[in-house]
């Protein structure tokens, strides 16, 4: 068995394709992808925050303080219009004449005098992804409301010392029980699993194809089969090689993720990444790795079984591509909001590992659950290896 293992490893190490898939891809391409994604996302957000919104106010003279506040706000730009009716304003916004219209009723100041509540209207397109404009508007309106409240209360001769308490009788201060790590873990934990698990599959698939279908295609399988070693040893030797590359791929990914995380985190504005990375201790990394071990074994056995069945390299690739798409289904399910690790989800393969990785990064993992996941995945792996061994002894598989 070890003879097969070491020979396969030597062969793989001399193969440039393995180096690309197992080592270079995780080291360089993934940080690049995430760097670009982060950059695009953050730049569009800041662009949306800095955008100028063209506005009109109908009956602006009714609320001069508000009019001035809006005029001097850096994100708003006044434009002129003759339109006053709601329907006309809607049409104008659709025609891109301006972005937002605020209608103050003509009798606003009269009603103010009588201390009556008044309704304003704000008309704008709400389909935008980043609704910063409305946030600015409500901030300004809140300030304006408070200003009016103070005026009214002053007119009623209320003690100015007590104004704050009257305007806002109760003030709540937020104390978060989740520490920063739990917050970050909730957001990034699932993403990390989303990267790690497919990489275990990706790292293992090329060598698996090479060792099964590749061996058939080269004509070396027959000579291997008539060597005086049992077919079980051949399968296990090959299986271990596939497992090794899968795990090495995963390890390099985790490592490059950590290093790149630290590098990107050292740039200004990316402190979140740095904090998330520093919170993860060696124990967690070892636990993550020990969960990846059995799931990689499942992948290795499945890939090898497919590859042995296929006649050629190409055929094997055709069989494996749907498998790699299928892998994402449980991973996406684990990312859904509200999906949590419990006795039921701990028994769903792949998804359980993804959830456990999330919990580990959050620092809230239940060790009993981890043991359950490890055990169930190990059982699955044993079954998959058993199938692979059985498969390798079928003449109809080997000589198709």
């Amino acid at each position: 068995m070890w003879q097969v293992y070491f020979k396969e490893l030597t062969e793989l190490m001399r193969d440039r394709k393995t180096l690309i898939f197992v080592i270079l891809l995780p080291i360089f391409i993934f940080p690049v992808i995430f760097g670009v994604m982060g950059l695009v996302l953050s730049s569009t957000t800041s662009k949306a925050m800095q955008e100028e919104h063209r506005y009109v106010i109908v009956n602006a003279e009714q609320a001069p303080e508000f009019r001035d506040a809006m005029f001097y706000h850096k994100n708003f730009k006044q434009v002129q219009t003759e339109k006053t009716a709601e329907a006309d304003l809607v049409a104008a916004i659709r025609n891109d004449e301006f972005d937002v219209a605020i209608i103050i009723p003509a009798d606003f100041s009269v009603k103010r005098q009588a201390v009556e509540q008044v309704q304003w209207q704000i008309i704008y397109n709400q389909s935008s992804q980043f609704d910063f404009m409305y946030r600015y508007f409500t901030d300004m309106l809140a300030t304006y409301n408070e200003q009016l409240q103070r005026e009214t209360l002053n007119q009623l001769n209320v003690d100015p010392q007590k104004l704050a308490a009257i305007i806002k009788p109760v003030d709540a201060k937020k104390v978060d029980t989740a520490d920063k790590r739990e917050n970050i873990g909730e957001k990034f934990g699932a993403v990390i699993a989303y990267i790690l698990v497919p990489l275990c599959l990706l790292g293992a698939s090329y060598p698996a194809i090479d060792m099964g279908a590749g061996e058939k295609e080269r004509g070396t399988l027959e000579t291997l089969l008539i060597c005086p070693i049992s077919r079980i040893s051949i399968v296990l030797g090959k299986f271990l090689t596939v497992l090794t590359t899968g795990l090495v791929g995963a390890m390099i990914t985790v490592g490059s993720f950590g290093i790149w995380g630290a590098i990107i985190g050292s740039f200004a504005g990316m402190a979140v990444v740095q904090e998330a990375m520093s919170a993860i201790a060696i124990t967690e990394l070892i636990l993550i790795f020990s969960l990846l071990l059995p799931i990689s074994a499942v992948f290795a056995a499945l890939l090898l079984a497919i590859s042995i069945y296929a006649r050629t390299f190409k055929e094997a690739q055709n069989y494996i591509s749907p498998l790699s798409v299928l892998i994402f289904v449980p991973l996406v399910a684990a990312m859904m909001p509200g999906v949590e690790l419990n006795a039921k989800t701990a028994l769903v393969p792949v998804m359980n590992v993804a959830l456990a990785i999330k919990e580990l990064i959050k620092g809230t993992a239940d060790y009993m659950m981890l043991a359950l996941i490890f055990g169930s995945t190990l059982l699955l792996a044993a079954a998959a290896i058993g199938f692979c061994v059985h498969w390798f002894q079928q003449e109809k598989v080997l000589f198709r």
């Binding site: 003879q3 097969v4 020979k7 030597t10 062969e11 793989l12 001399r14 193969d15 080269r218 004509g219 070396t220 027959e222 000579t223 291997l224 089969l225 008539i226 060597c227 005086p228 070693i229 049992s230 003449e395 109809k396 080997l398 000589f399």
Partner: protein
Amino acid sequence: MIDIQELAKAFALGKNNKLSDTEKQDVRYSKEAFHSVRKVSFNCGSGEVLGLLGPNGAGKTTTLRMLSTALKPDSGTVLLNGVDVLKQPVKARQQIGFLSADTGLYGKLTAYENVAYFGRLHGMDEKALKQRIDELFTLLNMHDFANRRADNMSTGMKQKTAIARAVVHSPKVVILDEPTTGLDIMTVQTVLDFIKSLKAAGTPVIFSTHHLDEVATLCDRVVVIDKGVSAFSGDITQFKALSAEGDLREAFLSVLQGSAGTQQQGVA
């Protein structure tokens, strides 16, 4: 000493497998299975070279694969120097060297590593292995490219490496499945010289071929397989006697006609 009695092997057919008209005429097809080899018997003594002849698809490769334990026969016996191949496949494999024209090498490994890998799989210890490889590389004049990767070798170099690989464990029987098909003249000569050297060393060789000149120069015994049945088995003089002028081609054709005749009688 190799003794094969009444070997048979059938391959199950898929349910949706529609047989073509020519396949329907082949007596070996039944509804469920293709009886590739039905009744093959022959024997070969030490130092003898046995040529396995037959049309394409006659069952030669299947027979040799059963002989080399890659496939398991449905019935029949194979004895290699008294070892029952079916009952003790691992022990039998230690005695077999196998080579075919399309036997591949591991492209990423050097000639030395390719040979050494199979030597180790055959359980040879490092010292004996090194000595044996040195011996073989001298014999086959391979030292020049011992450390070259198989991917960068010429066909001749590859075939020499494949030969060294097949006999690294000093097998007691050597099985060659169409070892010269598709090779250039120089490489064919390497293979033929190798068969001669085995014969000189007293190792029995079984090889399948389509080249009657190879049979004429090398073989002591001839077996003709047609439609999964050994239609002829005997020594080369008996085979030559089948034709009036001692022509091998005529002899071969007369065996095929004879077997077709008996089969038709059998059907009728």
